[in-house]
Symmetry: C2
Subunit: 247 residues, 2 copies
């Protein structure tokens, strides 16, 4: 059996995340159905690098899938892009080692949180950015972001229900940076792994810092104590992009 | 009665154009309903600067509306933006002369046709650009575009059914330019007025020129003869933006 390593992009606006669910349309289900049609088999199971929440986007998302077919990778890409809806695209496909697993082999990921800072909402970024109609204090946010870089216990930066589910809430952030170009402000973060809602809470905390509602001291205390209340709000999903997965 | 001059932006993906229709949701209807709610009256009639086709977008679209209310312009903008769906935004509102009419007083308009030229479709430009997965020959297109600038009979550049409806098919194009930045190619055109489908046919003709399927001679002959067959295809609506209206 072949093991294919496939990168896709998707606009998450119309999906309840990547991972298959019983009562909602997810990217996984749509991809598996297209695979079944392409290969003329039962839809095979794909293994995604991440779950991603409802409404979250992916510029580069990796999954692997075991198939019997001899279809060339080029044909796989073209065929899938014909079968998939226009908000999902296959970017690349290559042969992987037998034991490659998109989730367990990932060494790191990059996420971007995108804010549209125009006073009025941008009708073309409707489900593609979070509308934050103020000028954020980028320097202050960058100073605070540096406190999150490194290996820390990010228990304060994840949704309560996730804590029971993971063995450890320690993660390493390699770097985190806030940039501004015109009316778009982007918070970019790379790390070896992320807890549930971690990027959306971290981005919300930086905005609270920009607004003076939290201090750098609060961040340090949050890392120390695991107290969620010291962080900012969880920003909505439409601004979040999984930008890259590293292997 | 006051006469308000209002600029809006809208993402046309979910609308059957601006102008009210019996069996389809249009921007006009949604705006009028919001106005009725804001002013606590029957929805007043708004007069748009243009019809725009189903799926076409507007970065700046002007309408005027006669109202009795004393609501300040700032309150009008804020109120409307609260009441309107997220794919329509009021950008500005000012008092206009009694006889101002958004359509009849327009001196000119600017349209942009946007092409996404990535080999694979861009899932984030799904209904916001036309996916043309080739590298267009921008220099050749610009040479051809210059032939369209000036006062011409654009009968060949409009849908057959429009010819009976307008007094004249003579229009003036002030300028027309093709630019490329990364994987985005934009065809920008300014003129005193545009016939039905004129921009989409002109853009399609420039692409046919880029592909060697039409020549500069064909354009000259099309302008002379009014023969639609000498032009290129009508490009789909999702790439078209009404960018500005001049008064």
């Amino acid at each position: 059996m072949r093991n294919l390593k496939v990168f896709i992009a998707y606009n998450g606006a119309e999906y309840h995340g990547f991972q298959r669910q019983d009562n909602a349309v997810t990217v996984q289900e749509v991809v598996e159905r297209a695979l079944g049609k392409l290969l003329k088999t039962e839809p095979p199971t794909v293994y995604g690098c991440s779950r991603t929440d409802a409404g979250v986007h992916a510029r580069r998302f990796c999954f692997n899938v075991h198939i019997d077919s001899a279809i060339p990778c080029e044909g796989f890409i073209k065929g899938m892009n014909t079968l998939l809806p226009r908000d999902i695209a296959v970017l690349s496909c290559e042969e992987a080692e037998e034991d490659f697993h998109a989730r367990y082999c990932a060494r790191g990921k990059e996420y971007v949180y995108m804010l549209s800072t125009k006073p009025q909402r941008d009708v073309f970024l409707q489900k593609l950015a979070y509308h934050y109609p103020y000028k954020p204090d980028v320097d202050t946010m960058n100073r605070a972001a540096r406190l999150l870089v490194g290996e820390h216990d990010f228990a304060a930066f994840c949704r309560a229900e996730c804590k029971g589910r993971v063995k450890s809430t320690v993660r390493t952030i390699y770097d985190m940076e806030v940039t501004e170009r015109g009316d778009i402000c982007e918070i970019r973060v790379r790390g070896n792994g992320f807890l549930y809602n971690m990027v959306r809470i971290a981005a919300g905390t930086l905005l609270y810092i920009s607004e003076g509602r939290r201090t750098e001291q609060d961040i340090l205390k949050a890392l120390e104590s695991g107290d969620r209340a010291l962080c900012g709000v969880t920003l909505p999903p439409e601004g979040l992009y999984l930008n890259e997965v590293f292997y």
